[in-house]
Structure formats: C-alpha cells, structure tokens
C-alpha cells in the first residue's frame, strides 16, 4: 500500500534510465524530498559562503536548528497515523492536546513535586485520554474527524487556559528541564561532528523508530493501512475497524503528551498556549505530514517521507531566517511554506493523472 507507486518504476524495464529517474522523482515523494533537501541545503550553504546571509549557514547552525524539528516531526508522525487511518482522518486538536497535557505535566512536576518519570507517565496518560475522546467520537460515534477534532480543539485549548487562569507555570524544576534541549557532543566521533540537541536522541529518534516499527512492521500497522484504504472491505474481512481507528487517535494523543514534555523543557516553563498560540502546532504538523506524502484520503503514508519533509521545512526556515534582517524572515517562512504546500499538492494531482492513468 505504501510502496505501490515505486514498484512499477523499479520492475518494468521499458523506458530509458533518464525517463525512469524523472518518473521516480515525480512519483516517489521520498526521492523528490531528498533531492529538494539537498538542493535547499546546498543553495543556502552557497549563499552563506558568498556572504549573502546574515549569519553562517553551516553544520553547527543546521544542527542547532533541529531543536525546532523535534516537536514538528513528532506531531507530524502523530498526524501520519491518524490521517492514514482514513475516513477523512485528521487531528486538528493535536496542538491543543500539547497545551493541556503540558499544563498537567507542569502542575504535577512543578507544583506537586512528582518525580520526572511519574510526571512524564502522567503526560502520556493524559495525552492518551484526550486522544481517546477524539477516537471515541470519530471511530465509535462516527463523527467526521474534522468536526470532532475541531470541537475538541476548542474544548482543550480553553481548558488549558482556564486551569491556571492563563498564567504559565515556571517552577525552577521545570526550568531545569531546559537541559533536555541543550546540545551535546556525540561520543567517539563527536569531535569531528557538530553538537546535536539532546532532544534528537531522547525524543525524536525513539519516536521515529517506534512509529516506523508500528506502521511498517506490526499487524496493527497493516490493519491501519487496510482500514485507511477501504473501510468496508476491512470490516468484511473481519478487522475491528473501529478499535483500530480509535487506537490511531490515542496514539496521536500520546505523541502530543510527549511533545508537551519536550516543549515545557524547551521554553523552561509549562505554557497554557504552548500548542495553540499563533497558528498553533496542529496546522504545521498536518502540513508537514502532507508534504511528506501522506495522502489526505487515507491509506498511504511513510515515516521516512515525514522525517524528510520535517528536515526540509526546518532547514529551509532556518535559511530564510538568515536571509533577512530582523523579523522579516518569519514572514517569508509563511510564503515558503505556502508555496511548497501548493506546489506539492499540484504535483501530486499531476503525477497521479499522468502516471497512474486514473482520470
């Protein structure tokens, strides 16, 4: 289901190698993202070397920028699971879950003095429960996912603000958590390589591995793709469609709970609007998932695509920030994200029509 686009290109030996390369570039999202990633980093490095940027766009800078990639990639993986589950699957509330679990974590860890391990467990449980509410509405009550998670987005966002009367929890213990986002030297080979934010090892890589194992190597993953591809067929072949879909929303909630812990550390305080201020965290996460090749109609999506899309957006944003004086860069990040998304969507439509013969 996930690799169906690439298979024909690899097995049919008809067209010339150049045509096949072009075809896999256009139809295989991972190849396209890898090429774009190299192009962006190469071009930005060139600009930096020529002195067009306001700072150095080097390995140290790129590695430091990964601090922001951790929550984005993790939430996008949560969206991957939910969107793949099909029937219009989407989770608009994932940013609001981050806010609300962040407050629960902050209160338990900062105010009640729970141990870190216990507080993290609490964040995961609360995130899972909030996700379960979504799952209940979508899978069992058959609400359209967009509506169910729009409703819970409002409810969770509001509760997160009300819990502490909209004031952040900045206990010194949470402040000390800032160390989880500090950069560390990789042992043995670290002297040649740039320092990498600790969150990459403690949060991102485990999350990526677990999600990959889950969707690509377990029966749950096969069921998830099956219900996302064809709800009715799965039901008739004896799958518990509702339970599988319910679990997808719980997984997204659990991921959001972990992100809440990371973000509390990153900002050295538990903020009630951590996942909902400005555009929030949900829309960028959905954007990255879609850019990573997750089909919004369900049943298609790969972890590698999401990771590559996160890296592309993170390093593109980091470069744009250097290309403009002052605050202007953040505006051009919006422009870049919008253009990338529109072109990715147009390209998707074009390649499906051109290469799969459908419509």
């Amino acid at each position: 289901m996930t690799a169906t686009q690439t298979r024909p290109a690899a097995t049919t030996g008809g067209p010339s190698p150049a045509r096949r390369a072009l075809r896999s570039l256009l139809t295989d999202r991972i190849v396209l993202l890898a090429v774009l990633l190299v192009a962006v980093v190469g071009w930005m490095s060139l600009l930096g070397a020529q002195g067009y940027l306001t700072g150095a766009y080097d390995a140290d800078y790129l590695s430091g920028a990964l601090v922001d990639a951790v929550p984005l990639a993790m939430l996008a993986l949560g969206e991957l699971v939910v969107i793949v589950s099909g029937r219009g699957g989407i989770d608009l509330s994932i940013g609001a879950i981050v806010s609300l679990t962040g407050m629960a974590f902050g209160i338990a860890y900062g105010r009640w003095g729970w141990s870190l391990a216990l507080s993290v467990v609490l964040a995961v449980v609360v995130g899972g429960l909030l996700g379960a509410v979504n799952g209940l509405m979508v899978a069992y009550l058959r609400f359209p996912a967009l509506i169910a998670t729009l409703a819970s987005y409002y409810a969770y966002k509001s509760l997160a603000l009300v819990v502490t009367d909209a004031t952040p929890i900045s206990d010194p213990r949470i402040g000390a958590l800032y160390s989880i986002t500090r950069s560390v030297e990789i042992p043995v080979v670290g002297s040649q390589l740039p320092d990498v934010p600790l969150g990459i090892f403690t949060f991102l890589i485990p999350a990526v591995l677990v999600t990959w194992l889950l969707v690509a190597r377990t029966t749950y993953g096969r069921r998830l793709f099956a219900i996302g591809t064809n709800d009715v067929a799965s039901e008739w072949s004896g799958l518990d469609v509702r339970r599988t879909r319910f679990a997808a929303y719980v997984i997204a909630g659990v991921v959001a709970g972990l992100v809440a812990v990371y973000i509390s550390g990153q900002f050295a305080s538990a903020r009630p609007d951590a996942g909902t201020s400005g555009n929030g965290l949900a829309l960028p996460a959905i954007t990255v998932a879609v850019l990573g090749g997750v089909a919004i109609t369900g049943g298609i999506g790969r972890v590698a695509g999401v990771v590559l899309a996160t890296l592309l957006i993170t390093w593109l944003d980091a470069g744009i920030l250097l290309a403009f004086e002052g605050n202007d860069g953040t505006q051009y990040q919006l422009l870049a994200l919008g253009l990338v998304l529109v072109f990715a969507a147009l390209l998707n439509g074009l390649t499906t029509r051109r290469f799969t013969g459908s419509r």
Partner: protein, 347 residues
Amino acid sequence: MTTSTEPSPSTPPTSTSLPPTALKAARRILPPAVTGQERVLVVILVVLAVVLSVATPAFRTAGSWQPLLSSVAPIALMGVGMTMVIIAAGIDVSVGGALMVTAVTTAKLLVDQGASLPLALLAAAALGLVLGTVNGLLIAYGRVNAIIITFGTANLFQFLGRQIFASQTVNGIPGTLELFGRGEAGRTFGLPHSFLLTLLVAAAAWYWLRHSRPGRHLYAIGGDPTAARLAGIRVQRLTLMTYAVTGLLVGVAAVFTVASGTSTLDQSVGSGRELAVIAAVVIGGTSITGGRGSVLGTVLGALLVQTVASGTTQLGWPSQLSDFFVGVAIAIAVGADLVRQRTRRAR
C-alpha cells in the same frame, strides 16, 4: 424564467417550464424550508437567552446584545459563503488569512488614501473576490484537495497580510465606516446595519440555494461530483464560483471588522477566524461531506457561538472558558444531527 405564466408568486423560478405534475414532484423532493437542526438551534438559542436574561439582568439591555449582533455579522457573512463551499463538498481554511489581507488593505486605504465608504467597500470586496478566485481556480481546475490547498493559501495570505502591515499596527483609522460600526450611526431601530446586511445576504443565498438551478446543482456536486458531471452540471465552474463568492463575502466581512473595531488594527486580525466560521456552519447542520446544508442554520450557528461567548463573560466566568462551550456545542449539534440522520435511515 422571466416570462412566468405560473399563477403562484411563490413558484420556484427554475420550474416554470415544467408541467404541473413535475412541479409537484419538484416541490416534494425539495428539503423542508426549515430543517430539524434549525428548529433545535432556535430552541437552544431561546432557552439560552431566557437563562442568561434571568441569571444576568445585564444581558437584557441593548448595550449587551447590540455588540453581540455586531460580532455575529462577520462570522455569519463569511459563513454564508462557507456554507456554499461545504455544500459542494469543499472547504476553505484560508478565510482567516483572507480576512487579514482585506482588513489591513481596507484600513490602509482609509488612513493613507482617505477612501470613502463605497470605495472602501468596493475595494475590499474586489480584493476578497480575487483571493477567493485564486483558491477556486486551484481547487476546481488544478483538481487538488481543498483542505490542503487552502492550508497553503492561508500561509500565502498571511504572508501578504503581514507584508502590508509592514510589522506595524495601522493607527488612526477614521470613522468613515461608522455606518457599519458599533456606534449610534451604525444602527437602525436598534439593530446594527452590519447584521441587517448579513441577514439580507443570507436570505438571498437561502433562496438561491433552494430555488435556483445552480443552487440545486451545488447540492448535486456535493452529493456525488462524478454523477453531477455526467448529468451535465458544470462542476468546475460552480466550484470556482463558491470559493469566489466566499472571498467576496470575506472582503465585506473585513469592512465590518474594521468598522466595529477601534481606531487601531493589529496583526492578530482574522487569526483563527476560519475555525469559528467552520464551527458556525457545522453547528448549523451543514454536512461536512457535502450535499446537505442551509444558510439559515449557519446564521443560527454563528448566533449560538457568539451568544455562548458573550454569556460566559457576563456570568462572570473566565472568558477563555467560552471556547470550551463552543467545542461542546459543536459536538452536541453534530451529534444530534448524526442521530437524526440515523433514525431517518432506519425508518
């Protein structure tokens, strides 16, 4: 359509060429003028109004419900367009960004150019129309997923809006738009003009959707786009139109927003509005999967959302709690609609 020979003035204009029996059949397949969801909403609104009036005497004063109606107007007006979009199985999450662009442009026109009210209104509507047309062209002719593409254009519109803001607020907005403002000049018989105009637009859209040929075609597209295309409906052109109309109405809503605000406009304008508009539409009983819905429900939905917000603050509860009730309202409204659909199907 113009040379009507039918005696009854209430006859739908599109069915004038049909024989009487077909006319009867056409009337029968039309959905009821007021749906069950709308009746439920009216009851909820009345109960809410009574409870709030008893609990907080301040709610009964004009000073309380006039601003309420003013704040309903932009949401309901954008909701009219969004209803058409969603009926045709689309969605537009870029209205918040489009509102930002049109609002800041309007404000700048008033401050820098000293534009008159008609000019500002025309410019805002035209600009909104252009933004909506961009969405419509991409979705109808680029044949891409509506939610994805409007996430993209939402980013583009926000970029555009912030470029026009130039990292500052727009200050010293003159009272040119007071006809649509919160002051005495903005009301007739105690009702804000913005709300009255919204009702007028909603009534026209209600009639158009229910009784005109293209209006019925929108429902057909939402029900099954392929079947609609095979039946000879110009799916792409009508889809484009829904987004263009939404854009135009966003432009007018921007004028209302600027008019009812203070003399300063900041960059948070429009932020999150797309979700409020979609909430109003779905609370009003429009099916997010298309093919079913009404503008009347959307206006009631917008009223409900804003009454809940206003009621929360007047009861002395934290204002942030109002979003919680909005969330609950969405869940209940859509849940009730699902239950009704299921019982109807079971019958």
